[in-house]
């Protein structure tokens, strides 16, 4: 059929991607967060979750939310090559989302990290899970990373001691606007893995089951008036 051939032309070539095995992380509050790969059929919930943050300019939430919204829509419509989405959920309620993709069998490109539930290092854990997937499960050699905010720079460029690729610009540039690109190589990953990556596997069946269906968060601390503010 003409439509099928056209659709084939519009879709990117696919690499084989090993699924990410779900894991369970106990956060400092005692809450248990399941980190697992999201499925395309969960796109609606993911987009609904991200939408309110388009209007939150503080801490660069608006640009991260806008870009992640388009990434997930692109992934859903098969217009972004070899992308994966990991979600962190506490009893099904989404606490954070990360997006990333394979540019080639060896090189990964980290897209975005969005934390909805703040104060518990959810973002740090989901970013680490992203790196774990690229290097341990997808067996890649390195991941290109950029930061849009100072917090991102501190958590990734400094804490992971990433290698700068600025001197190889423009041959090496990150698709998110060509801003200074850094790389997490396998060597660097092995050095920090013990301190950064955690979680227990396998996740008990009933806990994985409780993470389906995913639910939109009940409050957004980044959006004023999204919950009752305590006053004096």
């Amino acid at each position: 059929m003409l439509l099928d051939n056209m659709e084939k032309k519009l879709r990117p070539p696919e690499l084989h991607m090993t699924p990410y095995p779900a894991k369970l992380i106990t956060l400092t509050s005692g809450e248990k967060m399941v980190v697992r790969e999201a499925e395309r059929k969960e796109t609606g919930i993911l987009l609904q979750t991200i939408l309110p943050l388009l209007g939150a300019p503080k801490d660069f939430y608006d640009v991260v939310a806008a870009r992640m919204y388009s990434e997930i829509l692109g992934w859903y419509r098969y217009r972004v090559a070899n992308m994966f989405v990991l979600v962190g959920a506490i009893e099904g309620e989404i606490a954070g989302i990360v997006t990333s993709r394979m540019a080639s069998p060896e090189i990964g490109i980290s897209l975005h990290t969005l934390t909805i539930k703040r104060g518990l290092r959810v973002g740090a854990q989901l970013f680490a899970a992203k790196m774990e997937h690229h290097l341990d499960y997808l067996k890649q050699k390195e991941v290109y990373i950029v930061a849009e905010s100072p917090i991102g720079f501190k958590r990734w460029m400094i804490e992971y001691d990433l290698e700068s690729r600025e001197d190889r610009y423009p041959e090496v540039q990150h698709e998110l606007g060509g801003v200074p690109t850094y790389s997490l190589t396998r060597d660097l990953y092995e050095k920090v893995k013990d301190k950064k990556v955690t979680g227990i596997r396998p996740v008990p069946e009933e806990i994985v089951a409780a993470s389906r269906p995913l639910r939109v968060p009940t409050e957004y601390s980044q959006v004023p008036n999204s919950r009752e503010e305590k006053t004096a």
């Binding site: 460029m157 400094i158 804490e159 992971y160 001691d161």
Partner: protein, 137 residues
């Protein structure tokens, strides 16, 4: 000697390139060692004047060599200007009784271990190099 030119005493050693040192001072009256330099000796009340105009400048004593590690830490949250993941620091005691804080370069630090104190670059702000104590095994 040119007419009208008076003989002046200039200390040309100020222009010599010296090996950087980290120094304490010695009270000229009672000999107590101090690090860092105070403006008055807390033992005998002798005053110090860094300009030398009103009181003596006090002799210096170099902090270097053998010292004992009193305590240490590895810090992962560094202030502005440090783009590295962590730094190790320690407080040591020298055999002359002086104590000091400094950078610690040791793989497996332990309280009570013997270290050697050397002067080295500890911070670079723009073009300026700042010297301080580094404790090595």
């Amino acid at each position: 000697m040119l007419k009208g030119v008076r003989m002046i005493n200039i200390d040309f050693s100020a222009y010599e390139e010296t090996r950087p040192k980290v120094e304490g001072v010695v009270c000229p009256t009672c000999g107590k060692l101090h690090y860092p330099a105070p403006m008055i000796c807390d033992r005998c009340n002798t005053r110090r004047d860094p300009s030398g105009a009103r009181y003596s400048r006090w002799e210096t004593t170099e902090l270097e060599g053998n010292c004992t590690l009193l305590t240490w830490t590895r810090v992962h949250a560094l202030p502005d200007g440090f783009d590295i993941p962590f730094l190790q620091f320690g407080i040591v005691e020298f055999s002359n009784g002086l104590r000091a804080s400094g950078l610690l370069k040791s793989e497996n630090p332990e309280i009570g271990m013997q270290l050697t104190a050397i002067a080295d670059v500890v911070r670079e702000t723009g073009n300026k190099k700042e010297w301080g104590l580094v404790f090595v095994t």
